[in-house]
Every structure is written in C-alpha cells, then in structure tokens.
C-alpha cells in the first residue's frame, strides 16, 4: 500500500493561535504555483479555518478548537466523471484542482460535501488547500501548517491508510468523515461532538457555605452506571463524553440526592446544597 498524507487535529493541544491558518494564507495569497494552485484571495476564502465549540454555561464551560480544511477524502466526491482531467487525486492522496483546466468550473464548488472548495470570483476558479503539494514535491518534510504548530495540535503524517485505520480502531483517533473516508482525523473529539454535565456542590454549616469536596457521584442511564466521579476541592465535578441525544440521565450525589435530567447540549446544573454525613 502506498503511503498517503493524513492530518490529525487534536483539540486538546490546540491553543487557537491560528498559526496554521496564517501560514497557509502566507503561502497562497499573492503566489502562483503553476500546476498546483493559483493565488488565493486575501480574505473570504478560508482554505484552512479554525472552528470553535463552546460548551456549558455560567461558571462551568469548555472551549475547544479544531481545524477545518480539505480532507483528501479516500473517495473524493470532487474526483468524478465530470471533473476528469480537471480534478485528480495523486498517489500520495492529495487532491489537486488543476488551476488551468478548472477555469470557469463553478460546478466543482458544490461537489465537496464538506464545503472545502471555494470559488475565486476574480480568477473564476474553484480552489482549495493543496496540502502544500508544491512544497512536498520540492522536498519539504511536511505542510507548513503542521510545522508551525507549537504543540502538535495539527500533525501531518505520511502513512498507509491501513496504519491510520488501526489508530482509528484503537480509539486514539476518529475520522472526520467516517462515512466517506477522510484523511482528516480528530483527537479528543468528544470536546467537539459530545456533551458534559457538571455542578458545584456545597454545604451549609452555621450559616457558612463551603465547597463540598470528595462527594461521590454516580451517573446512570437506563439503570446502568455509566460513570463515577468525586467532587473536587471546589465541590465541582464534570462528566464528559456523554451523548446529547435527549435521553434521560440519573445523577446520584452521595447517598442523599438524586437528580434526573435529559441532555441535548452540555449543562452546568449550577450549585447544589448537600449535607456531609
């Protein structure tokens, strides 16, 4: 199996510095790479973009960022009969929209199920990020977006599909578009796609409030325990990675309280008074 280029977006390692976005603009705005890409518009054409998910409310929230760009799909929708000779996938997996042959082909924009082909009005060209194919061909070791990442929030890997499939199977990675088979993967994607529930527990003694730490918490769904936790020194706890499918959860706080709730988005349940035995 030939090795292909893959990209891993790890939201636990992303500080949203946007170095990847800016360096991609630096590479393509005003620069022509014949055979690979024509100049990118200065603004309004996000070949690479940082997206944000805010979860929770009030004092308990979570904010995660992930990258969105061309996924070099394993079966790219943009490579089809209608685009034969215009859009093609290289052996290394990189999809190229020929900047000469694609002129005027606005129809190609709509072919991408991920909205990652952008119309360049001035040049009348469908365009997207080429994963820096022109640089990789010239001997660069990885796309610039990955090399400027300070943390490994964005990692480029050259590997066989099978090797990557194994990493997906192990649970380390999730494929961004599993249905179609993308070569863009997420790490810690629960922060993007799943929900959390949390609360702050406190006690009142002689009229004085204190955070209730060390309280045992049990989360059940359909009568089954799905997670257990203990409140921290601020009396807080948080169960993450939950499905926000509108189903009912039951939360047991110590042996004294029970809360029932349904979850569609992440929820901070606020402050809850407890008594310490």
């Amino acid at each position: 199996m030939t090795e292909k280029w893959h990209l891993i977006s790890n939201c636990n390692a992303c500080s949203n510095c946007n170095n990847c976005v800016l360096v991609t603009n630096d590479e393509y705005v005003g620069n022509d790479f014949p055979g690979y890409s024509a100049p990118k518009p200065v603004t309004g054409s996000p070949w690479m973009e940082k997206k944000r998910v805010e979860r929770g409310n009030d004092t308990m929230i979570d904010v995660a960022h992930y990258i969105d760009t061309c996924m070099n799909c394993r079966e790219p929708a943009c490579v089809n009969q209608k685009t034969e000779g215009v859009v093609y996938q290289r052996d290394d997996g990189i999809v190229i929209i020929d900047p000469d042959k694609a002129k005027g082909r606005k129809d190609i924009v709509g072919m991408c199920p991920h909205g990652q082909i952008h119309w360049n009005e001035e040049l009348e060209l469908p365009q997207k990020w080429t994963w820096d194919a022109h640089l990789l061909d010239a001997g660069w070791k990885q796309p610039r977006a990955a090399s400027v990442c300070p943390t490994g929030g964005l990692v480029a890997v050259k590997a066989t599909d099978a090797e990557m499939d194994a990493r997906v199977a192990s649970g380390e990675l999730s494929m961004r578009d599993a249905k179609r088979g993308s070569r863009l993967y997420d790490k810690n994607a629960d922060r993007v796609y799943k929900c959390f529930v949390g609360a702050s527990l406190y006690t009142v003694e002689d009229g004085v409030e204190d955070c209730a730490s060390g309280m045992k918490l049990v989360l059940k769904r359909d009568g089954t325990v799905i997670a257990e936790a203990e409140s921290d020194e601020f009396g807080e706890f948080r169960f993450d990675g939950l499905d926000g499918d509108g189903e009912t959860y039951v939360l047991e706080i110590g042996d004294q309280l029970t809360r029932e709730f349904t979850l569609t988005t992440s929820a901070y349940l606020g402050t809850i008074e407890v008594t310490v035995a």
Partner: protein, 992 residues
C-alpha cells in the same frame, strides 16, 4: 621620512588602485562609485602630507597638494592618527577615540562625506554574501520580529513566503528538563506568535506610506491651516522637498521659540532590530537635534512599578520578579498554577511567540492543575482547562485579601518565612483582620466586591495553602499587563507579592510564573538587547552604559533639552499648556517620587511634533483627546515618520515614509530586551540571534528609519556625527563584533546563514531559582547586575534592597512619602471606574476590559488589508467592513437584544466605537471584553467627536491615573454601555 609616513603614503597610493580593482570586479561597486564625482582632501596636521583623491566618472586618481574646493576634508592631527584610521581592519575603539579627541576630523559637504565613508566601507562589504540559495532559484533570508524569528523566501525581488526557522544539524543540541521522572524537550525550531506569520502582508499592505506626502493645505511659508489636520488630503512631494521642509522647520523652531519647542514622540514598541530601533537610531537623532522628549510611562508595568516594587525593591526591573530557573522548579515541584489575570496564550509574554505553549501541556501531563482568575475565560483557560473563577474586574485585591484572611485565621501560611524574611507583617495582619478599619477581609466580605462566592474563596485559600502553588500574575506570569493597568492595578500587583510572601516565596514549587520564564538557556552569553541602546550613545535613558557602550565604542549623544512631557499627558501639555509627570527612574524606589513639570523652567513650550509611528489613537488611554491636540494652533508643525498611513498619521503636515524591517539591514536577538528586561531570553526555548537581512529593496520611495534620520542630520550639518560614517550593515557588523558571537561564528558565515543558536546551559549546571537564595537565607546568586550595590542595607548581595533588607508587607519607602493615595499599608479601594461616578454608572453599567491584542502586536499587523482580517477572533466582516470585536455574555446580549456578530455601539461619555458583537459564555456577566490596539482610526464624522468604526477602544478609556503623583495609566478597565448600532438612524441624523 619615517616608516610610518611611508606606510601612510603607500596606503594612499594604493587607494585608487583598490577602488579601481573593486569597480572592475563588482558591478554594484562600480555603480556606486560612479554615482557622483567628488574631491576628498587628506591632510596631516603639520602639512607634511597633503593629497587629494579625485573621483570622476567612476575613476579615482590621487593628486598631491591642496585642492581649492574639496567636497570632503579629512584631517589627521598626526601620522599615528592617520594610520589608526586608515589601516584595515578598522579598530573602532581606536578610531572613535581619535575622533573624540579631535585627532581626526571629517568635514565638508555632508552628502559627499556620507558618500565617501560608505564607499570606503564598501571596499570591504561589497561582495559579502548573504542568505542561502534555494533549489527553486529563490533566496532564503532571516528576520526577527516582535513575534519571533523568520526565514524569508524571496524570488524576483518579491517576498514569496515567511516561515519559521527550523534548525539543521549544524545547530546545537536542545535542552532537556527532567521533572517527576519524565523528560521534556522543546521542538527544534523557533515557534512564533501568529502575528509573525502575518508580516509579509505588512510589507505589501495597501496603506503603506510609499512616498513623502504633504497635507494639501499646509504651506510652511504661508497658511498652515492646523485646524484642518485629520480632514484635508495629501499630495506627493519629493524627498528633497520633504527633508528641506523638516530640517528648515527644526532650525526655525529653535530660532523662533528657543530650546524645547520640538517634541519627539515615539511608541514603546517598534519593528525589531538593534540599529533602527527607537531606543537606538531615534534616540541618537533626538539627542542630536535637541528635543523635548515625550517620555514613556512604564506602560504595562503600572501596578508593579508604582506599587509592588516597594515591597521587594525590584526597581531595576520596574517592580517585577525575575523568573530565573522557574520552569524546571515549577514542573518538578508545583502542584498547581494560579493564572491570575494571566493569559500567556494571548499576549505571548510580549515577544516570546508560542515557545511556551507546549510547556503548559507538559504541566498538564504531570498533573499540575490550573486555576484561572479572570473575568474572561481566556484563550489560556480554554487551552489548559481547570477551575475558572469569574471575578468583577478591578476588585482582585479583595479576593486576595480574603485568601490572606483565611491563611491567618487557619494558621496556614509560612510562619518561618514571615518571621525571618519579612517586615511589617503584624501591621498588615491588623488590616487584613479588620482590626484597624473594622472590616475583617472575610470571604463573605470579598463576595460583595468581587462576585466570587465566599465558599470558592475559602476553597481557593485552602487549596493554595495545602498545595505548592505557582502564581502566574499578568502576561509573563512575572507581572506586566493583566490587571496592573486598571484603576486598582497597584493594589492587585501589591497583593500578588504579598500572597507569595505569605506562602514562602522561593520555596521549591512556590514562585511567580506561568511557565513562560526560566528555561535553561545560557543566559551569561552576551548579546545586546534592544533596550541597551543600540547606536544611540545615550547613557542615561537606555541600558547602554552597562555593556553596549563599552563593548561597541561609539560617540556619546546627549539631549541638551531637559524638558519632558509624560506620554499620557501630551494632549494636556499642548491644549492646557501645562502638565506634570513622574519619573521612570529604575535606579531606586525613590526615583519615581521625583516629579517634573511642563513647561520646564526656561524652555519653550512645544510648537512642533516629530511623531514616529501611528499607534497613539489606540494604544494611549483616553485617546479622543488627540484629535483636538493635533488641530491646536499651538502646534505649528507635525511630521510623522511612519510605515503605514493609519491612526494618527492622518493628522500630520508631512509624512515621511519609513520602510519595514524586511527592506533594510539590522541585527538582533529574539526576545532580548536587555536593560530592565535583563535575561528575558530565558523565555524562549533557544536563544536565537539573527541578521535582519535586507530581503528586498524598499518599496516605493520609502527608506529605513536610520536613513531618514541620517538624511535630516546631513541637512543639519551633523550627518557624519550621526552616522560615524557607517551604513546600517556596517553598524550591524559593529554590533556583532561587540557581542559574544564574535569568535563563535565568523561574520561572513553568520551573514550568509543569517542566524546563530546559542548552545543551552550545560545539564551539569543547574540554573539558580529566583528567590531560592532569599528563602534559604543565602547571599544572592542570580546572574543579574541588580540592584545597585548601594541599595543594600546589609552586606552586598545580602537581603533585598528594601530599607529593612526584608520583604516589606508595609513598605518603608511608601511610608516615607506619606501619600494617602498610595498608603504604606495597602488599602482595598474599589476602582473609580465602578464606584467613583455613580451617576455615570447608571448610564454605562457594563465594565469593559481592553487587554493587549492577540493577533496583532499592538497596531503592527492589524488592518493592513491582509488576511488577518479573516481570523474570526480578530475582526468580523459586516456589510463590507471588517469590524473590531467586543465580547459580551449571552445574558447581557439578550437584555439588549444583541445577536452574535451584529453591529453594536460601545460608548460612554468619552466616545463611541462601532464593533461586531461576539456573544459568548466566556464572559462574566456584566463584563465585556475587547482588545486595545486597532491600527485603524476611522471616525464617521468629525475626528474626536464621532463614532469610530476602526476599533480604537482607547477612545473610550479614561486618562485618569491610578493615583496622584504617578503616571500610572488606568485605562484597561472602562465603563460603557453597549447597544445595537442603528446605522441608518445615525446617518439620517448626521445628514440633518
């Protein structure tokens, strides 16, 4: 004739041959030598040798005897002086020494002198190779920016790309830190701030100043129309016209008004580089001209400088802790990090780029917890996670006091440290417990001030006492920015120090930091930082005297004008005709108590502004004062030397176009401030020194800052004095030779490769940790030349430079001045922007915080017509305009009917700014957030009196100072109202 004379004659005879050979070999040299004709006379003091060189059409001849009208006259007092100067390689120590003592004189036509000295320099420098050729035919050069070092790829005279520097096998090993059984090593590259990667667009920005410009209705010899500044347009003029107008006006001002009438005003940040920097070339120029200096307040240091310093005596660092050795200490020993108004992922420790970001992941891996005390769930909070304590801005000291209250009440502070290393604790304790003012600073009490639940304050106090805690305070974790720049900034900074003192500051795992400082770099390797004065020759107002002036002999410069204006008070100085200031005087804690007044006795008031850069509208508090100032008839002339036409450059009479750092020569080290920021290079993972190659020719007719100053100086008859005959490349070599680089790498190799990585500290040599010596009662062991020996009250290096030699909970220095606004026993006072004006609070109930911006280094990258505008956290496109962003809580937005990304008017009694609203759970209810430092000032109507759609949030901030007898700005916390922007209604009203 002696041997020496023979040698000198031989050299002179050889000169035409050398010029001829060089011209034959090099096209650039040929072009340069042919660019003018000149006669250069060379004469010994006793007239025993008199010759002149005749340059004509690129050819050189040596003739005997006096020339009737030479263009350049070189006088040597004696043969020794002649040989000192004329014998290569140039020993600047000797040459400058001979010049200072008038054994060498260089006079004549200034342009000819400049041409000839550069010609002589080019004998050596022409043909130097720089940059590395790439396989695609492009050249790769180097740069250092405020956000980090870059490789710059240039093809066909145009910048192709700017990329980070990734190390090669020739570069030295990288350090490894072992902590809790794990090993950590940084990436072998320079990790930059996002704004560094937006720099190419800066060069080709649509608002570049490319030609000298004159305001159309400004006539230096007739009507000057100052009232039209900011509204009338510009016409292109030649450099000759522009330089004539500026230099004639400089001399006219002095003759008509007397000394002091020219004020020189620069921003406190600049494009990188030790030569063109404002503390270098501009300082030298200002001193040469003689100007009323518009002085910097210790901006971004406010609370630390005017407040915290007095507790530990750190005046030479403007009140800050040092950060030495703290990275390994924190990773090895700390249990948690409290980020208190500390957002390193937004402000990057000023110049440190994203070098420190991965360290926060290391900490996470080691189980070190994070707590964020901040009204904004900052990018750092989003990155590290952890506990978020929402706090009402400006009330931080109340929370801090309650922590101390709990520690005293529960007996959970470091009693050994407090008893043995501190002074005044009992008096402080009496205040905390309420014995002196009847208000015990309980968690319940603070809740009413801060909005932080009492139980959380208690939990925080207990956690802090139990666990070894690093306190990351402000931008760098060791101060600056954060909450030190608002009305209660001094209280906050003072409390930060006292918190750490109560927990044994210097104990393993107990210190200041957010993992930004303290990497095990070789700090004792000398390379001058920007604050070391570069070529300024200014020994009092830069750090030059310490190392630079001795290591790189150059001519001293001194400003004959003592008059100063504090930057915060420039509009008042012009409009009211008077103001007062207080010193930024790091030598001692008492320096800052010394006031000064404008106008100073005997000096003229200011009637000319030489403004350098265009950032004041969005970086100076209460900046809606500036349009009036600029239109004042008191100001007869405004010249602005700027790279971009933006902000206040649109108020100038003459605009001098400066080029970007990519278009001129310079040299520098990443993150090396030097001076008051001594050893800040412990922030980066590697120390990287680089050439700032002249990557491309200056765009349009723009010139380097250095060249512009030189050109003006030539017209004032002091070009040779200003330049010492050196162009920027020659100066860069002098800087190189003055540093410890000399001997580690050859100049030619350095020039070609462009950068040098200093090998890290040896693993066997553990760097000392800040305050560990003090905690353990040892003499000081840090490699800093601070404090001045005379500041110790015990033996040298024993104790702190306070009166007691101890950490002072109640500073003696403050006690001695008896200023009720800065009491020795710190008093909690709610910020005046909240409680000082109840009638305004009714109308403007929201608090707005405006910290340093994230994606633009101050105004440098913003609004240049670049792709930065596409970053959704930077600007938002609405109806064809990229608006600045204000962040607001969903509840506050809902109450005002404001939806995400809708346009809103952020306003108060000082002005109005139209922004795009970001509705986000990341804001504490009642608090809005925006960044200062928009480069764009775009008033819809009359400047200063109409809404600004550019995003200058500082038009809303207060110019009131934190306290009297300081120039501590307080503007990062503002009261405002935010409402939906009714554009149509505004324009309808304006039309009427």
């Amino acid at each position: 004739m002696g041997l020496k004379e023979t040698k000198f004659r031989t050299i002179l005879t050889a000169l035409p041959i050398m010029f001829g050979l060089k011209a034959k070999k090099s096209e650039t040299f040929r072009k340069y030598i042919s660019s003018r004709d000149a006669v250069v006379q060379i004469q010994l003091g006793d007239n025993s040798i008199i010759k002149h060189l005749v340059f004509q059409s690129g050819k050189t001849r040596l003739r005997n005897g006096l020339h009737a009208s030479p263009d350049v006259h070189i006088y040597f007092k004696d043969i020794d002086a002649a040989l000192t100067v004329m014998t290569p390689p140039t020993d600047y120590g000797e040459v400058i020494h001979a010049g200072k003592n008038f054994r060498v004189k260089l006079t004549g036509d200034e342009e000819a002198v400049a041409w000839f000295t550069q010609l002589a320099g080019k004998l050596e420098s022409d043909g130097w190779e720089y940059g590395e050729k790439q396989t695609d035919g492009s050249m790769r050069y180097t740069q250092i920016t405020n956000g980090g070092p870059l490789h710059v790829y240039v093809k066909d005279g145009k910048i192709l790309r700017t990329h980070i520097i990734e190390f090669d096998d020739d570069d030295p090993e990288t350090w490894t830190i072992e902590a809790r059984g794990q090993k950590f090593s940084p990436k072998r590259k320079g990790l930059v701030a996002p704004h560094a990667l937006a720099m190419k667009a800066n060069v080709y920005a649509e608002n570049r100043a490319l030609y000298p410009m004159k305001r159309v209705d400004f006539d230096p010899d007739g009507e000057r129309n100052p009232q039209n500044r900011g509204t009338s347009g510009y016409e292109r003029i030649s450099w000759d016209e522009a330089l004539d107008i500026v230099s004639k006006e400089i001399m006219r001002q002095k003759r008509v008004h007397g000394p002091g009438s020219i004020a020189l005003s620069s921003p406190s940040h600049h494009q990188w580089g030790n030569i063109n920097y404002y503390l270098s070339a501009l300082m030298r120029f200002g001193n040469a001209v003689g100007v009323t200096r518009v002085t910097l307040n210790p901006d971004s240091w406010e609370g630390w400088y005017w407040g915290a310093m007095h507790h530990h005596g750190s005046s030479m660092r403007l009140g800050l802790p040092t950060g030495y050795g703290t990275l390994e200490d924190a990773l090895e020993h700390a249990d948690q990090i409290v980020y208190w108004a500390s957002d390193p992922e937004s402000q990057f420790g000023a110049y440190g780029g994203t070098e420190t970001t991965a360290r926060r992941l290391w900490a996470k891996k080691l189980g070190i917890k994070s707590i964020h005390i901040n009204p904004h769930y900052s990018p750092t909070a989003a990155f590290t996670g952890g506990k978020w304590i929402q706090i009402k801005p400006g009330t931080d000291a109340a929370l801090a006091l309650s922590l101390m209250y709990i520690w005293i009440k529960e007996d959970s502070y470091d009693k050994h440290f407090v008893e043995n290393r501190t002074d005044g604790f009992d008096e402080w304790k009496a205040y905390v417990m309420g014995e002196t003012d009847g208000i015990p600073k309980t968690p319940e009490w603070q809740e009413g001030e801060t909005g932080v639940p009492a139980r959380e304050a208690r939990a925080l106090a207990r956690s802090w006492a139990k666990k070894k805690t690093y306190l990351g305070a402000g931008v760098s974790g060791c101060g600056m920015g954060g909450a030190c720049r608002n009305a209660t900034g001094m209280q906050w900074a003072r409390c930060m120090l006292m918190l750490n003192a109560m927990q044994g500051w210097g104990r393993p795992g107990v210190n200041f930091g957010n993992l930004s400082f303290g990497a095990p770099n070789n700090l004792e390797f000398y390379f001058p930082g920007y604050a070391e004065g570069g070529i300024s020759g200014e020994l009092n107002n830069t750090g030059s005297a310490g190392n630079n002036y001795c290591r790189m002999p150059h001519l001293i410069s001194m400003n004959p004008v003592e008059q100063r204006i504090p930057r915060q008070r420039l509009p008042e100085a012009i409009l009211d005709g008077e103001c007062e200031g207080y010193e930024m005087a790091p030598k001692s804690m008492e320096g800052q108590f010394q006031g000064f007044k404008y106008p100073a006795p005997g000096y003229s008031k200011v009637h000319m502004l030489y403004r350098y850069g265009s950032s004041a509208m969005s970086t100076t508090n209460g900046s809606n004062r500036f349009p009036d100032m600029y239109r004042s008839p008191e100001v007869e002339f405004v010249v602005n030397q700027t790279v971009w036409v933006e902000g206040e450059s649109q108020f100038a009479d003459i605009i001098l176009p400066a080029c970007t750092q990519f278009e001129r020569w310079d040299i520098g080290e990443w993150n090396n401030a030097g001076g008051l920021g001594h050893h800040w290079t412990s922030q980066t993972n590697h120390r990287i020194i680089a050439m700032l190659h002249k990557c491309i020719e200056p765009l349009g007719e723009s010139k380097s800052d250095y060249q512009i100053f030189w050109d003006i100086c030539k017209r004032l008859g002091m070009g040779a004095y200003f330049s010492e005959g050196c162009d920027e490349l020659a100066w860069a070599k002098r800087v190189f030779e003055s540093s410890d680089l000399n001997g580690k790498i050859s100049w030619k190799k350095f020039l070609k490769k462009g950068y040098y990585v200093i090998p890290p500290e040896l693993p066997s040599r553990k760097p000392p940790v800040d305050m560990r010596w003090f905690y353990e009662g040892r003499p000081k062991d840090l490699p800093e030349p601070f404090p001045l020996p005379g500041s110790y009250t015990h033996e040298n290096l024993h104790g702190l430079p306070t009166q007691s030699g101890k950490f002072e909970f109640v500073p003696n220095s403050l006690r001695r001045i008896g200023d009720p606004e800065r009491p020795a026993v710190m008093q909690y006072v709610a910020p005046f922007e909240i409680d000082g004006a109840p009638e305004l609070i009714k109308d403007f109930p929201l608090q707005l915080i405006i910290p340093h911006s994230r994606f633009s280094f101050h105004t440098a990258q913003d609004a240049k017509g670049n792709s930065l505008s596409d970053i959704k956290d930077h600007r938002v496109l609405v109806d064809g305009h990229y608006y600045w962003i204000v962040r607001i809580n969903p509840k506050d937005a809902e109450a005002r009917g404001i939806k995400h990304h809708e346009l809103v008017k952020v306003h108060n009694e000082r002005g109005a700014v139209i922004c795009a609203a970001e509705v986000t759970t990341r804001m504490t209810p009642g608090v809005a957030h925006s960044y200062e430092s928009s480069a764009q000032y775009q008033p819809l109507g009359k400047p200063g009196e109409s809404p600004d759609i550019g995003g200058c949030m500082n038009t809303l901030s207060t110019n009131r100072l934190q306290s009297g007898k300081t120039v501590a700005s307080a503007g990062s916390l503002v009261h405002v109202e935010i409402e939906k922007w009714d554009k149509a209604a505004y324009h309808a009203e304006a039309a009427e």
